[in-house]
Symmetry: C2
Amino acid sequence: MATIKDVAKLAEVGVGTVSRSLSGNGGVSAKAQQRISQAMLQLNYRPNSFARALSTQRSNIIGVWLPSLSGSFHQHILHAIELELRRHDKHLILANAEGAGSNEACLQHLDYLIRRDCDGVLMVCPEMAVSDLLSAQASYPPLVFINHSVDLLSAESFSVDHYLGGRLAAIALLEQGHQNIACITGRLSAQDAQQRQQGFVNELARQDRPINPRLVIEGSFDFEECRAAIHQLLSSGLAFDALFCGNDKVALVALSMLQSAGIKVPQQVAVLGYDNVDFAAYASPPLSTISIPIEQMASAACRRVLNMAYDLQLTIPKVESPRFIARASTP
Amino acid sequence: MATIKDVAKLAEVGVGTVSRSLSGNGGVSAKAQQRISQAMLQLNYRPNSFARALSTQRSNIIGVWLPSLSGSFHQHILHAIELELRRHDKHLILANAEGAGSNEACLQHLDYLIRRDCDGVLMVCPEMAVSDLLSAQASYPPLVFINHSVDLLSAESFSVDHYLGGRLAAIALLEQGHQNIACITGRLSAQDAQQRQQGFVNELARQDRPINPRLVIEGSFDFEECRAAIHQLLSSGLAFDALFCGNDKVALVALSMLQSAGIKVPQQVAVLGYDNVDFAAYASPPLSTISIPIEQMASAACRRVLNMAYDLQLTIPKVESPRFIARASTP
DNA sequence: ACGCAAAATGGAACCGATTCCATATATTTA
DNA sequence: TAAATATATGGAATCGGTTCCATTTTGCGT
């Protein structure tokens, strides 16, 4: 592999001149430029990214920490980040913390990224302790949180108003006149699931239609666990005519299980999801849901970390509010 | 940030000794080791990955090139790769070529990875020209292909027997006694879609039940396009009692559209998918499908690239054959 | 206690870029 | 045309590791 010295020699200039030509920010005469470009082409020169990183103390790599690679939610986040990073010619190193149950395990995965000398890190960490996030923030390179609001780090947290999302779900179901509303939440140790659950329950209470606590089941976004949660609800013998699910995945499973049990959706039970994943529109019946601006949130976070890591001034879009999407799974 | 020199000074040893202690492969006395560890701890030392990469000419980074980040197929591949790489303490740089239509655009994305000096690259490139793959193979670091068999590079291609997958679909539907079988394929410019299509059609012909060409529609895995393909089939007026779809996504959309059109599944039309994604089991009705060992294929490819890039001898698992999974969407 | 092989050690040279500085060349101004 | 200024240039020092080699220390056998 040709080095900058080879180029300099062939072009009959000094390495400094080649370097300046490369970075484009110094004075290089047209003749020199010409000869250098020629030489680079001829040698098929490609600058060595490590030498550059070592010298500039900048890797142009952003680390991305995800709690899982399953499900459209994280997929959309990753997609948005990748797009934004490539736009700025940065690279993306991925860490998937799937299976890392404990806080320490999570931090280890973070360390895995840090070891690579990322210029910044984006984290989607619904269940980590705030104290750990704070100390990570303090001792590491720019760290930005996605789908998590850390009060003390509001400038570095990008989330969606899940509380409002929960309220919107309640409002939509109440408007449709349902009497017995059930709810399967996500894991309540996750901030987002918690918030939307609160919004939902509080809005019902506010409208004097408090939810029956026995109709609230804490689920999770794992297939088996959410199956179990739905089963629990179905076998409880309690009547309900609407079901709000913690996310679309749960809702789709619910749709399937309700119908297998001979229950008509939406005639007997209305089902409402959350997230508005791609599949929601193509479920049978198409799933009503609360749409949230996942990619917008991820882009905003990504631009924030770019600003911090590279002293840029990218404008950071406001993250929009959740919206109710009416489809056939609710009447 | 502390450097190896700082550690050496504090531990009162030479940098060489620290380096050896770090790599663990040289002779370092217990005393020295002790003092060095102590110093590292005290300085919170973390080796600089670029300096190391520069010196060893090895980045410990593997690039992963995906044609898209949507859909479980690529998600599972990424997941399997990430797992395998972390197991060997390598890092993963991601390039998503979504939207890169042309071959050149795809190669540009490959270049984006190469610029980062990956030690090897994994590519999922269903639609790239073989000649380009070959020349890329020749001029770049170890390059391994996933879900694509390149005849001239069989040791570097890891795929699934999609031809057999297609045949299994035909066999299953014929056994169930269907008379008019329809088929919505993926984009036939993609090798895998092509192969399974061929297997399907050939097996039908072999059993003297050749498919009606008008019941074969080339679709794609994009939501809108596959919607259009299904619509085309439904509005053709042609009768059919079974539908084989190019993947589960298409099948799920088909399920939804058929049922919306008042067609009972599986009583009037049986629906068969391909891939066995998570959701398949939770569709309404649960989707029969052909299961393929996605993660196994990805792991195998990943281990191959690790072997090539780092002179390892990891055993490479055989990639299993597709299997028919019977669920409620077929009788 | 002595000699010798083996183990441990320090440090220079190197990896391939960037950047700064002193020098050389070109351009403008009086 | 000379002086003053602006622009271009080469090369050394630097980033933080690894590795090789010459030298010192250690451990062992007699």
